[in-house]
């Protein structure tokens, strides 16, 4: 189910502004890959090119190739809607649908007009499985029909993860999923990411170096020469090596906290 992702010669633009330049990176299946780097270096932008959410912003486009198990998701005949259905995304700010119940949020993706229709009778099972998968079941099992917006921030974020995994995606993209959360919720999400890695290809953006060190297998470090310059991939490698013995001086400065 999990897929490998190969990014080659990728440039991402906002109108005329080149935000990310010439990225080449392989993302392995059943691993957690962390994107780290100073603010504005293009981590979120690059993440959003992986499920074609980048182009949702007016004027934004990419140049280059992103292949899922060898298939280019930017090929002419590929519908971005179909790409997004294979990939779950969790955003920086928890965004459960405010007009839907907890259960309604979990199955929101299943109600879309997908090729394989899911029967309504399976919804209850999927709700339970997804909420268990997101470590949220015990906290909400008695109030599944209550609005999702009534939960705490950490619970909302786990609800968003449940919503993302309910459709059984092949890849899970997370953009600083803990940055709006308290330390306890953060630990809960980190535990969850470690569990989910068994089944999914996970890419996580984080500005928290300890978090990257704790949960990722591979780390990619991005940097930019100056504000207004494009962000670039400086180096990528096994997390342990990136934190103990990076090849690049800038990486070392960043992971040891000398800037960023």
């Amino acid at each position: 189910m999990a897929k490998r992702i190969d990014i080659s010669d990728l440039d991402a633009y906002y109108g005329n502004f080149l935000a990310v330049e010439d990225v080449n990176l392989a993302i392995e299946p059943r691993q957690v890959t962390a994107f780290i780097g100073p603010s504005g270096c293009g981590k979120s932008t690059l993440l959003r090119t992986l499920n074609r959410m980048h182009e949702v912003i007016p004027g934004a486009y990419v140049d280059g190739k992103v292949a899922f198990d060898g298939e280019d998701i930017y090929a002419e005949d590929v519908d971005p809607v179909n790409v997004r259905r294979l990939i779950g995304m969790v955003f920086q700010r928890p965004n459960p649908f405010p007009t839907m119940s907890i259960a309604g949020n979990v199955v929101a993706g299943l109600k879309l007009d997908r090729g394989r229709k899911v029967k309504k009778s399976e919804f209850d099972d999927i709700v339970e499985r997804s909420l268990r998968g997101a470590n949220l079941w015990d906290e909400v099992k008695d109030r599944l029909d209550r609005p999702g917006a009534g939960l705490s921030g950490g619970q909302q974020q786990r609800l968003c993860i449940a919503r993302a995994i309910a459709v059984q995606p092949q890849v899970l993209l997370m953009d600083e999923p803990c940055s709006a959360l308290d330390p306890i919720s953060t630990l809960a999400i980190e535990d969850l990411v470690r569990e989910l890695r068994e089944d999914y290809t996970i890419v996580i953006v984080t500005h928290n170096m300890q978090q990257a060190a704790r949960i990722s297998d591979t780390t990619a470090f991005f940097n930019l020469a100056a504000v207004g310059e494009p962000g670039k991939l400086i180096e990528a490698g096994p997390t342990q090596q990136m934190f103990s013995n990076p090849a690049n001086k800038a990486t070392e400065d960043y992971v040891t906290g000398r800037f960023g």
């Binding site: 499920n51 959410m53 949702v56 007016p58 809607v81 179909n82 997004r84 259905r85 294979l86 990939i87 779950g88 995304m89 955003f91 700010r93 965004n95 459960p96 649908f97 405010p98 007009t99 839907m100 929101a108 993706g109 879309l112 007009d113 997908r114 609005p147 999702g148 917006a149 009534g150 968003c160 919503r163 993302a164 459709v167």
Partner: protein
């Protein structure tokens, strides 16, 4: 006294003032209507004629109520989907620059006085709508509403409803557009990232989030359609009978009838017109309150408490 208290006092005074004003209007209408209602020898609610200055006076609002409600329904059935469609186009589908141009044009249209719509409806639209009415008669004549036994297709409730629809489309689309663009980007992106098409995203996020505002927009339009005087007075042939064949000439509304009859009315006639005005006033009040209730209920859920 601090600023908050001053502001609170002022806004409460304004609220009380509006309430008293509304009440005052209602009381004035009721008091003025009493003489005619006393003298009336016919049933005020079921009679389909308007002879308040005859001896004895005999008048009723049945035909007026029918015409008012029917033209408003036709206007809403046409204007809500079209106005919503324009708003969706402007707020979501169109490129930003094209969207701005269309929004500007729609806003311009909202500012056109209703007499212009009335004249345009009379001189241009009525002639061009004959074909549509005849087509409805030919193909959907088996539905009583669209049957036309007179083979005359002008000055009908249907035409009046269409003109009202065109009048209120700008209002509805302008308000709905403002509501649509308020949809939080985070929720829009959540839906798209799940693999929703744009239309699925709209149904999943934009509509539920905007429902209170969409209802308010529809109510604004409905209020204008119910109260519209001059355009309808120009278009209808002012008959006092209930005719379900909406493409045939005929029909009348509260507002148009008041405008047409006011100058020639005697003292009982004036009082009778005020009585009909009171009914219109109560209808609009009821519609607004119903809308407010629906909006309040929906909002509870949106905020999730």
């Amino acid at each position: 006294m601090n600023g908050d208290k001053v502001f609170f006092g002022l806004s409460r005074a304004a609220g009380v003032f509006v309430l008293l004003l509304t009440l005052g209007i209602g009381v004035f209408l009721a008091v003025t209507a009493v003489p005619a209602l006393r003298e009336n020898t016919a049933n005020f609610f079921t009679t389909q004629q308007w002879l308040p200055d005859a001896n004895p006076p005999a008048f009723g609002i049945a035909a007026l109520a029918f015409g008012t409600v029917m033209t408003a329904i036709i206007a809403m059935v046409l204007a809500v989907p079209v106005g919503t469609g324009i708003a969706l186009f402007v707020a979501i589908y169109a490129k930003p620059t094209l969207g701005k141009v269309v929004a500007f044009l729609v806003d311009l249209l909202a500012a056109v006085p209703s007499i212009i719509f009335g004249l345009w409806g009379l001189e241009f639209l009525m002639g061009n709508m004959i074909g549509v009415s005849a087509w409805l008669d030919t193909w959907f004549g088996w539905i009583p509403l669209f049957a036309n036994d007179q083979d005359v297709y002008t000055r009908s409730i249907f035409i009046a409803g269409v003109v009202l629809a065109i009048m209120i489309i700008p209002t509805i689309s302008a308000v709905t557009r403002e509501v649509f663009v308020q949809t939080p980007q985070g929720h829009v992106e959540a839906a798209l990232a799940l693999g929703a098409t744009r239309w699925e995203m709209i149904r999943m996020v934009v509509f539920p989030y905007s429902r209170p505002g969409m209802i308010s927009a529809a109510m604004l339009g409905l209020g204008r359609a119910l109260g519209e005087t001059i355009a309808v007075a120009l278009l209808l042939s002012a008959l006092f009978e209930i005719n379900w064949h909406i493409t045939e000439p005929g029909g009348n509304t509260f507002a148009a009838n008041i405008a047409l009859k006011w100058n020639e009315a005697g003292s009982i006639g004036l009082s009778a017109l005020v009585a009909s005005g009171l009914v219109l006033f109560l209808i609009t009040l009821a519609v607004n309150m119903a809308a407010r209730l629906i909006v309040a209920r929906k909002r509870d859920f949106v905020e999730g408490h």
